[in-house]
Symmetry: D2
Subunit: 328 residues, 4 copies
Amino acid sequence: MVTLSLFGAGRIGKIHAGNVARNSRARLKYVVDVDEAAAQALAQLHGAVVADAESVFADADVDAVIVASSTDTHKPLVEAACKAGKAVFCEKPVDLDSARVKEVVTAVEKAGVLFFVAFNRRFDPNFAALHKTLRAGRIGKVEQVIITSRDPGPPPASYIKVSGGLFRDMMIHDLDMARWLLAEEPTEVFAVGSCLVDPAIGQLGDVDTAAVTLTTASGAICQITNSRRAVYGYDQRIEVFGAGGMLRAGNRTDTTVEVSDGTGVITDKPMLFFLERYADAYRIELDHFLDCLEKKTTPLAGAEDGLRSLLLADAAAQSVKSGRPVKV
Amino acid sequence: MVTLSLFGAGRIGKIHAGNVARNSRARLKYVVDVDEAAAQALAQLHGAVVADAESVFADADVDAVIVASSTDTHKPLVEAACKAGKAVFCEKPVDLDSARVKEVVTAVEKAGVLFFVAFNRRFDPNFAALHKTLRAGRIGKVEQVIITSRDPGPPPASYIKVSGGLFRDMMIHDLDMARWLLAEEPTEVFAVGSCLVDPAIGQLGDVDTAAVTLTTASGAICQITNSRRAVYGYDQRIEVFGAGGMLRAGNRTDTTVEVSDGTGVITDKPMLFFLERYADAYRIELDHFLDCLEKKTTPLAGAEDGLRSLLLADAAAQSVKSGRPVKV
Amino acid sequence: MVTLSLFGAGRIGKIHAGNVARNSRARLKYVVDVDEAAAQALAQLHGAVVADAESVFADADVDAVIVASSTDTHKPLVEAACKAGKAVFCEKPVDLDSARVKEVVTAVEKAGVLFFVAFNRRFDPNFAALHKTLRAGRIGKVEQVIITSRDPGPPPASYIKVSGGLFRDMMIHDLDMARWLLAEEPTEVFAVGSCLVDPAIGQLGDVDTAAVTLTTASGAICQITNSRRAVYGYDQRIEVFGAGGMLRAGNRTDTTVEVSDGTGVITDKPMLFFLERYADAYRIELDHFLDCLEKKTTPLAGAEDGLRSLLLADAAAQSVKSGRPVKV
Amino acid sequence: MVTLSLFGAGRIGKIHAGNVARNSRARLKYVVDVDEAAAQALAQLHGAVVADAESVFADADVDAVIVASSTDTHKPLVEAACKAGKAVFCEKPVDLDSARVKEVVTAVEKAGVLFFVAFNRRFDPNFAALHKTLRAGRIGKVEQVIITSRDPGPPPASYIKVSGGLFRDMMIHDLDMARWLLAEEPTEVFAVGSCLVDPAIGQLGDVDTAAVTLTTASGAICQITNSRRAVYGYDQRIEVFGAGGMLRAGNRTDTTVEVSDGTGVITDKPMLFFLERYADAYRIELDHFLDCLEKKTTPLAGAEDGLRSLLLADAAAQSVKSGRPVKV
């Protein structure tokens, strides 16, 4: 039985807390949040107690911490965990500043603690099956990747302000998928971006519509499309093309119901948003983390992956500004 | 170059005339119809001339006749063709009375002329591919067949009156498909029927909604569903199940366009009706007839097939009346 | 918090125990099974204790019992629960003998306890959404229903022996779906059956391949297809047709991955079997049962539904024997 | 009845000749080709005669010419047609050199003859329906376009040599589709390209794998993917995204047959290549040309469209060389 503590009782923290509660291999001991009421409510729901960070790190019972608090708190918490020798399950992004992420990478390496960056999409059963089929050689070496990723609607301006911008906040997931699928580091990033969804986003200097082209040394090409709005739901699709064929992973729907009437044949929209689409992924990534702890294996995504995807996001943001491709 | 004459300048006659005109192996010499204006218009469109039946059968140039006139004229025309030694392309049903169809079978056998019954669905690329895959042994021996066949809307009462009823007019196609797919004669027919679409159909003693169960000596089972109305278009589907798996042939659509919006993901309805869905089948069946003529091969559907499907339709009609399964 | 006791620590009992454990509104107090080791293991896994039936019914703490033991024990357990005033969640079939089921119906009515028959498919998100759309009037009154239900492989002969036969064991689910969708009681049942999958099944006097036609007073028609084998997985589909169009609910797959190569475009098979396909349904039906307990509402499927589906299964079995349709 | 002459008796010339022969509004009078045997064979097949260019342009009977000869002959033939006052149906590309295309544009404008550039994809029923739905405002203004276009296999090196390279030969179709769908001229082109399919292509200085990003003044973004090889067939898909949703047009298949077995559910590959996929488009574009002639309307694609797509292709080729986006 692994004893965990959770930092962050917000939307994603609640997801992780629920998954811990339903997992027979783990128990949640502490919940930490600056919002005490939120911490209290979540702790009570799952039979945990509210604590401050110091007590958590001081408690020898605690095997690992889940860092799901606001992005700016990730670094100090991870460093404290390193010092205390606790394993870390860290929400993405590790930090919005690559210099700081590099310090995290160093701290983690030095401490030798287990460090997992929660790139949840690697655990989505659809993308995971695609990846497995790809790595099994089903279509040969990757030549082209097309990733489509659209949120159902834009977040509020207040969120945009602290998000690090579309590339670091939203596309970072797709950049991680690209790296994972290409199995080769992109060497160049070209990005274009527009503000077509919400003028408030543009006023904050951010874009809400974007496209990125990644190229690798071997000549593989990846195209990524992002939008902060899709009226038909959370659009999450991947296509990988190679000499032997093509692999696609499409959207999931709530049901398989199909209505045929005078207007056409109508099926379900994609699942609403990440809580629904990636519910399985969140559950499976926790299991993966517990596996790594038990079997002392390397997690599917570590600090280095967190750093590299951020560097690609930085390059994309820079490319939009400069109007030119950026070498990585 | 095969010289053809056409009896019947109606809806289906026009289809065949057009296909002859576009086929480089055949030419249309005569068009015969009691409606002279219709005959004239169609003949003119395709460079043919209007004639009466006697002249057609007397002309040594004529290799074959297409019988696409009203059902009651099929028998005398086929018999005249037999006498004149002309090959026959005969629209289904051969006749509504099985005793008369038996006389046609005998006449054809005696004359030794090529006789093709135009069961067009056997030439639909979808059903033909399914059949080919089935016969190639892909799923083993047939155990279950499910045929769905729905017209977009009911014909007028005037048509129903002379149609022979749903089983002889509409389901006869599905009964032929069932025989063709089962590769074994059904030994029992059970049918149920209702009038749910148009009360006028019920007043004429016919049904517009029906289901049939066929069983064979080896234990294979076929279920057929018919309705005279489907607001979403012409619904033409087949499923065949065996020890090795399942084959399905679905509806065709005009386009592959898909609209995703707030209501769902919307694709095209099935093609409107038989002229659209079976346009390829009509073209291909003519080619098949010309092949049989050139290579002196047996057509895919002959007089015996016309008779057997009618006997199944008769049995289905009788089953609805008696409320019991009928042995065939 | 509802306190539950479970009778039966077998395959389906384990499912229900797991769902209780993960449900924050319920707790599992006792597990009862003639196989003490099985009871012990399951109890331990979920923090419950092993007990005998008497203690369970005597414990005032126990609000409800889940009856998931062998079919022949259902009746005495339900009657004991009625006497003790406990609510009942009863696996299907209530019993294989309709006379005995009628006694259960009477006992339940007299005792006034909540009685839920676990027709899990009513809670499958796909079928539930189809039903909801249907009842909302989307396609008008039901005219035709087509239900396809195939197991991936046949059970062992030992199971067949005590199963009550294909109609009472397997098709009873489809008969319940038919009743639920038609919203009108079938008045006639016609069934055909063959032994095409496993000769051992035929030697026991049972069939493994079957088709049923149900008709109702209003003229609606339902066709059901069953097979004890489908190499491509658990095939669970429904089509409902009405004046306004068609509703279909198809199979679910593990992933949306699609492979395009030289052989075609290949997607996932349907989910393997009921544990996978109906995992959600089992979870949701427990929630429904808890809702009924809390809000004192009538369950979606009660003793009467258990009885009526059994009577239809009996009629189907009789129809196969007599070769004739059977009035219900 | 429109009288046409055909220049070019090769693969695409044969397609057009066949479509003229099957079109009741047009007749083919002359076939011209440097390969006399090819000209003779094609002329004979359709009842036309072989002639030289001079005779064709001198014949007052000839209403229009179809220019389907090698690309370098397009310009002189179009100019001769302009002089002779004949309408022109011109295969793409008009020429590989934009300066020469500009001269064609000028010549056509001056002569005032009808000039149609055969961008066949605008007439594909799938893409045409998508475009119509888009222009009808179904998803609002275009924000993102994703075009996937892959040939089943690379052409021989001899073809590559005279093709003008992937961007002018192959992607020019996609660039035309992009312009047509965006309804706004791209202002910037960024392209990347690799040689992953056939080293012989790389040795000729060309690429066989490419991706392009187009941006417009309003901020719309289009991504295009090309490969000279797709083992699963001719991959031709379009997605258009706007504030109101998404439109997609997928590949067409030969049949709707679906095989379910132990390996999955297998459907047809996309149609093999352009002759199959765009058979309808070739037929419909001829009809469109005849309509324009009869009704004196402007064709859907004119000389200016030929020029603008070539300029985009030039910009893409230049971008690959310079490694930078190119303003148009």
